[in-house]
């Protein structure tokens, strides 16, 4: 018996040692080692995404986005309320399961986190948001697009991505533009897939499209032949799928195998490299949408992509930039409120005006992203190609365009002035006789040109200002 007990003790000790090894080996803040004698505050940020299950690849992508943000924040070294702040990420796995989502949410609430980033899926985000709201913990999701999330009236719920009302509408408009008349809709019965499909249906029907079939699958399925056969019998010209890449890819493939020639269209869930990998050649020419502008078209996009791939040696799957921004918005709000206390910095989150990687982030009264744009992409030659940006009007991009135009105009004027000055000196050198007159004339001409240029720039600026205001 004694021996047995000691074995148990040993194994318990071993288990402890193991779990200790499993923990991240970040140096714990030790007061003595801090030379600047400033107090250090640890800010705990909860991050939740499915780390196991069919969407684990997207969960990992989200986590990478959050890890990158936290590491950069810590490297930068922020000071809030006179104390040095160290951000710590607590990663939780909700398995994309609403029940599990609430369990880990409670865990984070009990751990007294200062803020929550996530969850990934709308289905887990919505039930979890109540727990965070009750505890007064600000929550920013980088990917939950179901409109219900922010419509529940919780002051703590925010998202940095356009919601499905905007997305469904844009996709509906896009479908009409493709010249199709009949559509079939498939959704995966998750809050996200169903929400997106419903919004798409509304938009499609409003613009005169006929919905000839509504079919359902689930977020773990691999075989879609039965519902696709049904869709085939309706001769729909376009199949819309509200769901994720793990189902979308095989679905596109099985459509081809069944000889269905309809176009395939989906939302952000299938706008991933994974979709292409799983669907193979069947994804060629298919369309999907992503909230926001393409990363390459954003000022900080390409640079973010480079940092991300350098750090993780992996491609960005989908939401990593949004999650990155979500962390940054949280930190920025704390900074502005000069407090890491959720009760104190929560009001600051609503007043965010943060120039993030994905967009200029500002929230409306509900906590939704203001003016979220939707971009449509097409799979072409094994690549995701940008087609166009729709809906939610992109004031920010317009502003950026105007800025660039003005800059260009100023540069032109400068060039002109330089040329004039050059000409003037040249003229002056040649005609030694009446140097003064020629120089004077030239200078006057130059002045006039510059003046005219300046006036033109002013006009242009006024016009663009007016345009922006109109928008």
């Amino acid at each position: 018996m004694q021996a047995k007990r000691s074995v148990v003790a040993l194994s318990v000790a071993a288990a402890f040692a193991l779990s200790a090894c499993g923990q991240k080996e970040e140096p714990k803040p030790v007061a003595a080692s801090a030379p600047a004698a400033k107090p250090e505050v640890v800010v705990k940020l909860g991050h939740v995404a499915p780390m196991t299950g069919p969407q684990a690849h997207l969960g990992k992508d989200n986590e990478n986005g959050a890890v990158l943000a936290v590491e950069e924040l810590n490297a930068r070294g922020m000071e809030i309320g006179g104390a040095k702040v160290k951000f710590e990420l607590i990663n939780e796995d909700d398995q994309a399961d609403p029940k599990q989502g609430s369990i880990v949410a409670q865990k984070l609430v009990d751990a007294k986190v200062n803020g929550v980033i996530g969850h990934l899926n709308s289905g887990t985000t919505i039930p979890a948001s109540k727990l965070y709201a009750d505890a007064g913990i600000p929550q920013i999701s980088g990917s939950a697009t179901n409109p219900k999330y922010t419509q529940q009236g919780f002051a703590t719920a925010f998202r940095v991505m356009a919601n499905d009302v905007q997305q469904g509408k844009s996709l509906g408009e896009f479908a009409v533009k493709q010249g199709v008349k009949t559509v079939a809709i498939v959704d995966d019965r998750t809050a996200y897939g169903q929400g997106l499909a419903d919004e798409f249906k509304k938009a499609a029907e409003a613009s005169g499209l006929k919905v000839v079939a509504t079919e359902y699958t689930n977020d773990k399925a691999t075989d879609f032949k039965a519902i696709l056969t049904k869709i085939k019998s309706t001769k729909a010209e376009l199949v819309f799928f509200g769901g994720m890449d793990a189902q979308g890819g095989p679905m596109a493939k099985q459509m081809k195998e069944l000889g269905i020639k309809a176009k395939f269209l989906g939302g952000d869930g299938i706008c991933t490299p994974e979709f292409m990998k799983l669907g193979g050649p069947a994804t060629e020419g298919q369309f999907c949408s992503l909230p926001g502008m393409p990363l390459e078209k954003l000022a900080k996009g390409p640079e973010f992509k480079e940092r991300f791939t350098k750090k993780f040696g992996a491609e960005i799957q989908l939401y990593a930039p949004y999650v990155y921004d979500a962390v940054m918005v949280m930190a920025d709000s704390m900074k502005r409120a000069d407090s890491v206390d959720p009760a104190k910095f929560l009001p600051a989150v609503g007043k965010t005006k943060y120039d993030g990687v994905t967009a200029m982030i500002e929230f409306d009264a509900l906590g939704d992203l203001k003016g979220g744009a939707i971009s449509i992409y097409q799979y072409k030659g094994g690549k995701l190609e940008y087609v166009e940006t729709l809906g939610g009007s992109s004031i920010e991009s317009a502003k950026a365009d105007i800025k660039a135009d003005v800059k260009e105009a100023v540069a032109d004027v400068k060039d002109a002035a330089k040329a004039v000055a050059g000409a003037a000196t040249a003229v002056g050198k040649e005609a030694v006789g009446d140097v003064k007159d020629a120089a004077k004339a030239a200078a006057a001409a130059g002045k006039d040109a510059v003046k005219a240029g300046a006036a033109a720039v002013k006009d242009a600026a006024d016009a663009t200002k007016a345009a922006v205001e109109k928008k």
Binding site: T52, A56, A226, I227, G280
Partner: protein, 307 residues
């Protein structure tokens, strides 16, 4: 009509996959009355091993047919070893324990294998290399591919082979004897340990074949793919009468066809009240009805002896 035919083909192929997996369940159950819930994971490991082996051989420039064959053989060998190890490590020490204990162990092994696979192969979906040429056929407006025909043929052949093994060989006789009464069989000179290990090894080899078929058909694989497949195959085995080889085959095909027809027609039959997400209702209603009138399944033998 072409749509109906297409749905039947869909169901037949899906059902053949269920049947192939169900054979593994039913074989082990028939001999020792244990539901090996880790069988779905054995299938998954078979698929993933094939991806690794065939994928890397293809990359090295080996012809497709050879790489595919090597992948299949590797998968079968790995799964046989796995089946043997499962029996030796997880089930043999519990052979005389109450029946609930090995069942819980089986579920535990299923979780262990899933997580092991996640650590080895990662969380991402993996693409299965295209091992068979894409040949499409059309019959009266229904489309099907070469791989679908192969799946149906392979599962039928496997079942035939198993029947031969059980009813025409010495090992088969030993298996049947062990199934009837292990104690008496061992008194008659049957090495029970070896017979049970053989059942696990053969069942796992079938699982590997099923894994390769699933992989070739859907061309995707994932460390959790075995769970749902295992559950459906288990249902099929129960439907057909667990412990009976022909029953597993029939149950699998029946389940596949009921599912396909259910998904295809439930919306129209209920006037849109129930959509295709209720497709499983059909399968389980049939299961419940069968079990109500024939508790041992369609082909099940009487269960009195066993329990």
């Amino acid at each position: 009509m072409d749509i109906f035919l297409q749905q039947i083909i869909n169901g037949l192929v899906q059902g053949s996959i269920y049947a192939l997996v169900a054979l593994g369940y039913t074989m082990v159950y028939g001999i020792m009355g244990l539901i090996n819930f880790a069988h779905g994971e054995v299938v998954m490991i078979g698929t993933l091993v094939t991806i690794t082996v065939a994928g890397s051989l293809l990359k090295a420039g080996m012809p497709v047919a050879l790489a595919g064959l090597a992948g299949l053989i590797a998968a079968v060998l790995v799964c046989m070893a796995l089946g043997w190890a499962l029996e030796r490590v997880a089930y043999r020490p519990l052979r005389n324990a109450p029946r609930l204990t090995p069942l819980i162990t089986a579920i535990g092994m299923s979780i262990v294998l899933q997580n092991l696979a996640m650590m080895i192969w990662g969380r991402n979906y993996l693409t299965f290399p295209s091992l068979l040429p894409k040949v499409d056929f059309e019959l009266a407006g229904a489309n099907f591919t070469a791989i679908q025909i192969i799946i149906v043929l392979v599962s039928a052949a496997t079942m035939g082979g198993l029947l031969l093994l059980v009813y025409r060989t010495k090992l088969g006789m030993a298996m049947r004897a062990t199934a009837q009464n292990p104690a008496v069989a061992s008194l008659m000179g049957v090495n029970i340990n070896r017979v049970i290990a053989a059942a696990f090894v053969i069942g796992s080899a079938l699982g590997a074949v099923a894994g390769v078929m699933v992989g070739t058909y859907y061309e995707i694989a994932h460390y959790q793919m075995g769970f749902m497949l295992g559950l459906k195959a288990f249902t099929a085995a129960v439907l057909g009468g667990i412990g009976n080889l022909a029953g597993a085959m029939l149950g699998g095909i029946l389940l596949g066809i009921i599912e396909a027809l259910g998904a295809g027609y439930i919306g129209d039959l209920t006037g849109g009240f129930l959509g295709s997400h209720y497709q499983d209702i059909f399968a389980f209603v049939v299961l419940i009805v069968v079990l109500m009138f024939k508790p041992s399944g369609l082909f099940g033998e009487k269960t009195g002896d066993r329990a």
